[in-house]
Symmetry: C2
Subunit: 128 residues, 2 copies
DNA sequence: TTTCTTATTGCGAATCTTTTGCATTTAGGA
DNA sequence: TCCTAAATGCAAAAGATTCGCAATAAGAAA
């Protein structure tokens, strides 16, 4: 995958992709860096994730915190429902196309929608 | 408004609300602070905006940048379509309720949705 | 395999946004 | 006018992310 995307397949990047593949929810850069400790430091984890994002191997997830999360870009684009209380994250699929069309209809003066970010916040069953 | 919300009506906060009332799009904290220069410094602009947000007078808008934007909380909750090229912002209204219901349906294990964030990115008519 | 080019990395320092501490000022009720 | 808690300014801290640069290593070529 890495070579095909024009990258060198370094231990750090491979480890990074592997950890993302096993993660069950979007991961903070700091967490990712710790997971590949010894193979890639924090600075280069930032650089690697950004590079991987640019070629579409990973996606940025903005959960409204001060820090960015990343997840492996597999399957279709989806959103998240985050528990306010425990932080649990569930994947959510929504009628994307229709929503973007609606946005375009609502926004006079715009010709196209390239992307959107949509995250939900609420309570999971295990929390009060 | 300020007194009614339990605040002291200081020059700084009044100026802040006035500038937000005239702004045509969500404003960065730094920009807001410059606009009320002399009446409120950067630190207290942060404090004031957060306080105003807690009582519902302003809303936070997260456009996916490294910094937070704020807008006056008037009218119904809405979203934004941001031009990738020039940064122009248009307001967008979407069928909120139905979307949140759909999210809840899609996310097993969740009992409620308190809020969501939704922003669109694309190109306005004036840009390439 | 060895060599060579340059992408990648580590590390320190810088930058940017946001928060905190604290002494001083001030809005607004008594 | 007086008094107290809310607000404020300023300096410094904290957290996230980026930059600069010399050292290292992946992978193509010999």
């Amino acid at each position: 995958m890495l070579r095909h995307a024009g990258f060198r397949a370094t231990y750090g990047r491979v480890a990074l992709l592997e950890m993302l593949a096993h993660a069950r929810k979007p991961v903070r850069v700091e967490t990712a860096a710790k997971a590949v400790r010894g193979k890639l430091d924090l600075t280069n984890t930032y650089r690697a994730l950004e590079a991987l994002r640019r070629v579409g191997l990973v996606r940025r997830v903005d959960l409204g915190h001060a820090h960015t999360h990343y997840e492996l870009a597999e399957g279709k684009h989806h959103h998240h429902l985050v528990c306010d209380s425990c932080g649990k994250v569930a994947d959510v699929e929504i009628q994307e196309k229709e929503m973007e069309r609606a946005a375009l209809r609502a926004a006079r003066d715009f010709k196209s929608v390239r992307a959107h970010s949509l995250e939900f916040f609420g309570l999971c069953n295990a929390c009060v």
